[in-house]
């Protein structure tokens, strides 16, 4: 750890080896796309390298790294939405439509696929709340939406997932 802080790349590699599974899991689930997730993982560790000098050991390294990974994934999501918004308006935050049909589920669709099939905003809130354990107030701050929106997205995500998994 100290050697990584002092700029020892091979020591930092050990951090990568230890944490890559955890970081990839959260990036993959937030991004919903494996190729993007791979890029995000790289971004996370580059950012961690830049910031490792400020890690004071007050928590476990994984505890320090985790919010950083989420932050990188959410920033990329914001950047993507800005780019998309220039082309077309996003409808990600429309009110939950009870009549909306879920993505067409395949037979035996697995949990990760169903998750990746969620609309972007609903997936982000579901991952952060039901998988990463954040509260709505925290999610609202991290994603820049109102608490009510976060709750609505969670409501939507859970029901869409249930539909996708029921077939």
């Amino acid at each position: 750890m100290r050697r990584a802080q002092e700029g020892d790349v091979s020591a930092f590699e050990q951090l990568y080896r230890d944490q890559k599974g955890r970081v990839f899991a959260v990036c993959y689930r937030l991004a919903g796309d494996p190729a993007l997730a791979e890029e995000l993982v790289q971004d996370v560790f580059v950012r961690a390298w830049q910031k490792i000098g400020s890690f004071r050991g007050e928590s476990a390294l994984s505890t320090w790294l985790h919010p950083l990974a989420i932050n990188v994934a959410l920033s990329e999501r914001r950047a993507r939405r800005r780019r998309l918004a220039r082309v077309q308006p996003t409808d990600d935050l429309t009110p939950f439509d009870r009549g909306q049909s879920p993505r067409v589920p395949e037979a035996g669709v697995d949990l990760e696929k169903a998750l990746a099939g969620l609309p972007d905003g609903a997936r982000a809130v579901f991952v952060l709340h039901d998988m990463e354990g954040y509260k709505h107030e925290e999610i609202a701050e991290m994603t820049g939406v109102a608490v009510g929106t976060s709750k609505a997205q969670l409501h939507r995500a859970r029901r869409l997932l249930r539909e996708a998994l029921q077939s």
């Binding site: 080896r17 890559k20 599974g21 830049q50 998988m131 969670l154 998994l165």
Partner: protein, 224 residues
């Protein structure tokens, strides 16, 4: 008051997450005990949450990403996203310039009673050094010194990249900086005559700001 099914369904997420106030929690529980349909709804939602909560916390990336990460780490400053490598010292110097500028702006200026300042129009002592003029504002002096150094570094960096800048850029930048420096000199002289003048201190800050913006513009344009 008994809840209807629709109201219960709306509250199920908060119920499952333990976010319902006690009274509402009890009402939902009562309803679920009596209503098979809503109870089934609650069970199915709980099952979805449980299935995802049970997913592994780790997921192996499809391939080894370390070689690419290592390449990016070993680039100077690991700042590959900032643009061409030669811009890095410029960006750093510009950051210092801007930070110093912020320091200069935020410095509060005390404005004592006018009677204590020299008569307006009194000739400034020609040999008064900057330090005496700004003796009442050591923070301002320190800021100016840091600023001068950062500016020199920035100009030196631009000079070193002369070949990559559009023709005449460096000359224009230097001419700009020189004219601003002349203005700064005049303000400092005036401050020597009137060290407590709030207006002069403000002019000093504003003129520094012009210089910072001029140099920042060049840095930004060079990075396009």
């Amino acid at each position: 008051m008994k809840l209807q099914c629709g109201e219960v369904r709306d509250r199920l997420d908060d119920y499952l997450d333990g976010e319902l106030p006690e009274a509402q929690f009890q009402e939902v529980e009562l309803h679920l005990a009596e209503c098979a349909a809503c109870a089934a709804e609650e069970r199915s939602l709980r099952a979805v949450i449980a299935r995802y909560a049970a997913l592994p916390r780790e997921k192996e990336p499809p391939r080894d990403l370390w070689p690419e990460i290592a390449t990016r780490l070993e680039a100077p400053g690991a700042l590959q996203r900032v643009g061409p490598r030669w811009l890095l010292p410029l960006a750093a110097a510009a950051a210092v310039v801007l930070a110093v500028g912020a320091l200069v702006f935020s410095r509060p200026v005390t404005t004592p009673v006018a009677a204590t300042s020299p008569r307006p129009g009194a000739a400034p002592a020609a040999a008064v050094p900057v330090s005496a003029e700004l003796a009442g504002s050591p923070g301002l002096l320190a800021a100016e010194e840091t600023y001068a150094q950062a500016t020199a570094e920035l100009l030196a960096a631009l000079e070193a990249r002369r070949a990559t800048l559009p023709p005449g850029t460096l000359e224009r930048v230097q001419a700009n900086v020189e004219s601003i420096d002349r203005a700064l000199g005049e303000i400092r002289s005036a401050l020597a005559a009137d060290p407590t003048s709030a207006e002069l201190a403000q002019m000093l800050r504003d003129t520094h700001q012009r210089k910072i913006e001029a140099l920042s513009r060049v840095v930004r344009l060079s990075s396009l």
